[in-house]
């Protein structure tokens, strides 16, 4: 799986309330909410993100609430993946369950500038300015969930194979 996209750079501790503020959670669908993604920090961001773009952030991305609307909204903006120095645990699990790819990398967030293009070859490397940075492979079961588009889809696939 290869993702090539333009990066949007955010800082440390991007919390769930920045990803989707409480006041918009009551909206009927993720589609209605998605224009408000990251709005407390970058009100213009949701409208600027194009399908396949990549979000790069510092440490502790997704800290805070267990609200699953947070990874869902990033997925709905068709973000290719989120690369961060580290992810908060509940967000990490929720993202996998929704088929949103997360990549942990210490170095890259220090190197990229917003607007640059990078290529992520999942479980293999990240390419930035003709330089390649190694990635460790994702566990097979997590990769299966992401490839299926989330936990529910992965379960359905598994069940239909067993039927």
């Amino acid at each position: 799986m290869k993702i090539k996209g333009k990066v949007w750079v955010l800082g440390d501790d991007i919390d769930t309330d920045i990803i989707i503020p409480t006041e918009y959670l009551a909206m009927k669908s993720i589609h209605d909410m998605k224009q408000y993604a990251f709005s407390p920090l970058r009100p213009e961001l949701a409208a600027s993100i194009r399908p396949g773009d990549i979000i790069v952030a510092g440490k502790n991305f997704g800290c805070g609430s267990s609200r699953e609307q947070a990874p869902e909204i990033i997925k709905s903006l068709q973000v290719g993946c989120v690369i961060a120095k580290s992810f908060a645990r509940i967000f990490y699990r929720n993202a996998i369950n929704n088929g949103l790819l997360l990549v942990e990398h210490d170095l890259l967030p220090e190197l990229v500038t917003e607007g640059e293009d990078i290529t992520v070859s999942v479980g293999e490397y990240i390419e930035h300015k003709d330089k390649r940075y190694d990635l460790s492979p994702l566990p097979t079961n997590l990769m299966e969930i992401i490839a299926a588009g989330g936990l529910v889809e992965a379960m359905k696939k598994k069940n239909s194979r067993n039927d």
């Binding site: 919390d15 409480t22 009927k28 709005s39 267990s66 908060a88 509940i90």
Partner: protein
């Protein structure tokens, strides 16, 4: 055996003799809680995505409406109705208007030694009774609701040794904020924070809840205490017995050990917008406030209400300042009424809210406007957490919030009393 309390709970939930940090295990979940933050999403998935939906064990489920309680607009009312109807249809335990979900769970359900999933990040609160409670999203909740099982990556444990006694005017709230300030908002990511030592043992269950509840604010999977006489007494008073009374083995493996002398802890605040930006109240400078809030699953119990009342008694809150108080449950509310605390609050000029998540979650009541400053006993001070994106939230103890409401600016309680 070489296991921590958390490893023993996971091992028993996995039906294994021994587990170690880093392993992934399938576990049976003892109980599943979900609130109106996301239950409607889980119900939609249940109804639309699953071919032959069924609930593994309805008696393990608890639905609680507390985030937007009572409903503040037709959209939240619709989400509540969906939850209420589903609970009735499937015979699921259902609460609304009774209090914050974690307080209800502690009063009604949690038993030492249980593994509990809650679709709310502060499910880690249940560690106060020696249960392993952890927050999950609605997909994990749905999976566990349908299968009765889930998976857990066994977390390593950080052990916090608490010694000594708090000085007058210093509270468990100041301690947990201090710890988070020291280790950082990701200082315990995917780890357990286990609290031990004479200082932990001297705390009652409500005080232990203040610590366990905030573990997730350091990124932890849960916070936990060894269940002791205090836990047994709490359970007995609430008509329950423990499932298991696990202790960490003397030779259990801890990733890191920390030592805190409670007598050295100062009243502190966490400054906006990070829970780990913690300074002594004296160092915060001249910060005028518009609103104070006392409540939440962290600090809305009788101890905090008594502390606030002792500071507010016979005094008036500053002109132009709002003070909102929401007891964590109706049980706490009634006790505060009986003790005469509500009279003190109302005389001081405070507003009493129903028992719910209230200002802490910035959803249904007491939201703050552009440029306003809130001092709160809530769980988080993220940007825009309590309302407008350009408002500010300081986190502090009930004593500091009450004193600040009197002064109109952030002050230490002992300065106001003096």
């Amino acid at each position: 055996m070489r296991m921590t309390i958390s490893e023993k709970i996971i091992a028993s939930a996995a039906g294994l003799e021994k587990v170690s940090a880093g392993e992934i295990h399938t576990v049976n979940v003892d109980r599943l809680m979900s609130n109106d933050g996301t239950t409607h999403l889980a119900i939609d998935m249940y109804n639309t995505l699953l071919k032959k939906p069924r609930i593994a064990d309805k008696d393990k489920l608890v639905f609680i409406i507390d985030h937007n309680m009572p409903a503040d607009n037709p959209k939240t009312a619709a989400a509540h109705k969906k939850m209420r109807d589903f609970a009735r249809e499937h015979g699921i335990a259902f609460y609304e208007g009774k209090g914050v979900c974690h307080q209800i769970m502690m009063e009604e359900y949690v038993r030492s030694g249980e593994l509990i999933f809650g679709a709310d990040s502060h499910t880690c609160t249940y560690g106060a009774l020696g249960a392993f409670g952890t927050g999950v999203g609605n997909t994990d909740f749905l999976y566990a609701m349908v299968t009765g099982k889930s998976w857990v990556l066994v977390p390593p444990t950080l052990r916090f040794h608490l010694t000594g006694k708090f000085r007058e005017g210093v509270y468990p709230r100041d301690l947990i904020l201090t710890i988070i300030g020291d280790i950082g908002a990701d200082g315990a990511t995917y780890k357990v924070m286990e609290f031990t030592g004479e200082g932990a043992k001297a705390m009652n269950i409500n005080e232990r809840m203040v610590l366990a509840n905030m573990a997730v604010e350091a990124g932890a999977k849960t916070g936990i205490f060894e269940p002791d006489e205090a836990a047994l007494e709490y359970l007995e008073n609430h008509g329950r017995k423990p499932k298991y009374l696990f202790k960490s083995d003397p030779d259990a493996v801890f990733e890191k050990e920390y030592h805190y002398d409670l007598s050295k802890i100062e009243p502190v605040v966490a400054r906006p917008d990070n829970v780990d930006d913690v300074v002594s109240v004296d160092e915060v400078g001249d910060v005028k406030i518009n609103q104070g809030f006392i409540g939440s699953c962290n600090s809305g119990r009788i101890e905090e209400l008594r502390t606030a009342a002792s500071i507010l008694k016979g005094k008036k809150i500053a002109d132009g300042v709002r003070l909102l108080i929401s007891p964590a449950s109706n049980t706490v509310y009634l006790q505060a009424l009986q003790e005469g605390l509500m009279d003190i609050f109302i005389d001081a000029g405070a507003m009493i809210m129903n028992s719910n998540c209230s200002v802490c979650w910035g959803g249904c009541q007491g939201v703050i406007g552009e440029g306003e400053v809130l001092i709160s006993t809530g769980t988080r001070n993220f940007k825009g957490r309590a309302g407008h994106k350009d408002s500010k939230v300081y986190l502090a103890s009930a004593a500091t919030v009450a004193a600040s409401a009197l002064a109109g600016k952030i002050v230490r309680a002992d300065r106001v009393i003096a």
